[in-house]
């Protein structure tokens, strides 16, 4: 049996008040229980921003009616309408929303979701292969000339980076590109583009990291042992 069975739960969240109904009862009974809870602190609840109303074992129409009733009787405004429906939409990766505000909110959600999930690429990335990911990208292998990586976050290459890498696509200025051997065709971080010098010196085993410092892309070793040798 799930916890809180047979109760109505009120919860404050960042986006407003969430009401969770954990009972399978007719509409009127549920309404009565909610009214009872609200009447304990009417001044607090009236005019509250409503994040969501979730119901277990209750039909969608009943849930809708509850929302409408809360809006009319207690002036509760519904924040980010049909929140749960939107989440469902995002998981299907089809964002079909009408107005811009909702769309932006959905996109932010999607970005946050992706940013927590770095993308791992196993094996050598060869010419013509491309990775496009909103979060961090980690390649376990080489990135050959002609291969492209576009990342919303950071890029880490556990091998030789010889292709093109673009980190911080979503305006992340502190994004970095790190590789065991860093000799990219072209390196881009956020709005900045750089390329390797034309007279390429002999590369030795030397893990390096590239990041923005004073509006310039700087490359430096990231192992302390190498820094001491400098």
């Amino acid at each position: 049996m799930p916890t809180g069975e047979g109760t109505v739960e009120f919860k404050g969240t960042g986006s407003g008040l969430t009401i969770r109904v954990h009972l399978n009862q007719p509409y009127e009974t549920i309404k009565e229980m909610i009214r009872h809870r609200i009447d304990e602190k009417p001044a607090f609840y009236t005019g509250a921003t409503l994040a969501a109303v979730t119901c277990e074992g209750v039909s969608e129409e009943t849930r809708q009616e509850l929302e409408n009733w809360l809006a009319s009787d207690y002036q509760m405004t519904l924040n980010a309408q049909k929140n749960h429906e939107k989440e469902r939409e995002i998981s299907r990766k089809t964002i079909a929303v009408s107005d811009d505000e909702e769309k932006n909110a959905a996109l932010t959600l999607l970005q946050n979701f992706n940013q927590q999930n770095p993308k791992f690429v196993q094996g050598t990335m060869r010419s013509g292969q491309k990775v496009d990911h909103n979060g961090d990208v980690i390649v376990l292998g080489d990135v050959n000339p002609g291969a492209e990586i576009y990342a919303g976050g950071n890029i880490v290459v556990m091998g030789n980076l010889r292709g093109t890498a673009h980190a911080g696509l979503n305006g992340q200025e502190n994004a970095f590109v790190a590789a065991l051997i860093l000799q990219p065709t072209q390196l881009r971080i956020n709005q900045l583009i750089t390329r390797s010098p034309d007279d390429v010196p002999e590369k030795v085993w030397n893990p390096e990291i590239a990041k923005i410092k004073d509006q310039v892309i700087c490359v430096e070793p990231f192992l302390s042992r190498n820094r001491e040798n400098d």
Partner: protein, 265 residues
């Protein structure tokens, strides 16, 4: 049951056709039953390199379209009775056939032959897709030029995408003197980028030009280095463990060993 090998490169002019002709002949010398297929429809060359141009009656497209029987289109080589050529059509183009038809053709050929070598056209379009369809193994040919290596890399990526894992590399037309002077890409550099197993190294050799013009593959009785290299590759394909011919390569191996042990940079 035979095995289908596709010989491909991406870039044109690196020696796919020469390699196919020589490996076909080399395998036939080893007593294998071999067919070489020219998949370069519209720009056929393999028949010329093998010196069999004047014997073509039917071709690959005729077989696939059912104009003739498979055995009618197969041309027996002048020198080796176990080597056959399935020539390409010259008056058609790459769209005359599709990958499914190639797979069906391979199924028929596997019954008769030990090795089926497919000479792939340059490029990555329809002709390439037809040529790699139904292949069991792939051999990538490159020359020590950046453009050829870049294209080989792209091709390896496409082969992997088509589920043709672990292709083998042939480095063609290498000039040892130039490599030693640092004027040409060395084998180690190429292997570092392409990250696949080396099947063989063929030195640049005037004997190739002479033999191609005569329509006689260089492996056939010639004492040239290139001929020896192709013979070795053919033996490696047939499963033998043959050491690399090239002195330079052994130098590199020792150098690499030293590097691992920390004696050299």
């Amino acid at each position: 049951m035979g095995e289908v090998l596709v010989i491909t490169s991406g870039k044109g002019g690196v020696g796919k056709t020469t390699t196919t002709a020589n490996l076909g002949t080399g395998l036939a010398q080893l007593g294998k039953k071999v067919v070489v297929i020219d998949a370069d429809i519209g720009l056929r060359n393999l028949d010329v390199v093998l010196g069999l141009e004047n014997r073509i009656v039917y071709d690959l497209v005729d077989v696939i379209e059912g104009t003739c029987r498979l055995k009618q289109a197969l041309i027996k080589d002048k020198r080796y009775p176990d080597l056959f050529l399935l020539p390409a059509a010259q008056t058609r183009d790459k769209n005359a056939i599709n990958p499914e038809q190639m797979i069906a053709l391979h199924e028929d050929l596997k019954e008769i032959f030990d090795f089926i070598l497919v000479d792939c056209p340059a490029g990555i379009e329809q002709g390439f897709k037809n040529a790699i369809a139904g292949a069991d193994r792939a051999v990538v040919v490159t020359t020590p030029e950046i453009s050829a290596v870049r294209d080989a890399d792209r091709i390896i990526g496409l082969l992997e995408a088509a589920e043709l894992r672990n292709p083998k590399l042939i480095i063609n037309r290498i000039k040892i003197d130039m490599v030693k002077n640092g004027d040409m890409m060395n084998i180690e550099d190429m292997l570092d980028i392409l990250a696949i197993d080396l099947l063989g190294v063929v030195p640049d050799d005037p004997a190739i030009v002479i033999s191609t013009n005569r329509g006689e593959p260089v492996v056939d009785g010639s004492q040239s280095y290139a001929g020896q290299a192709f013979r070795n590759i053919a033996r490696r394909i047939s499963g033998e463990d043959v050491p690399f011919l090239d002195l330079e390569l052994q130098d590199n191996f020792i150098h690499r060993l030293k590097k691992i042990l920390g004696f050299a940079r």
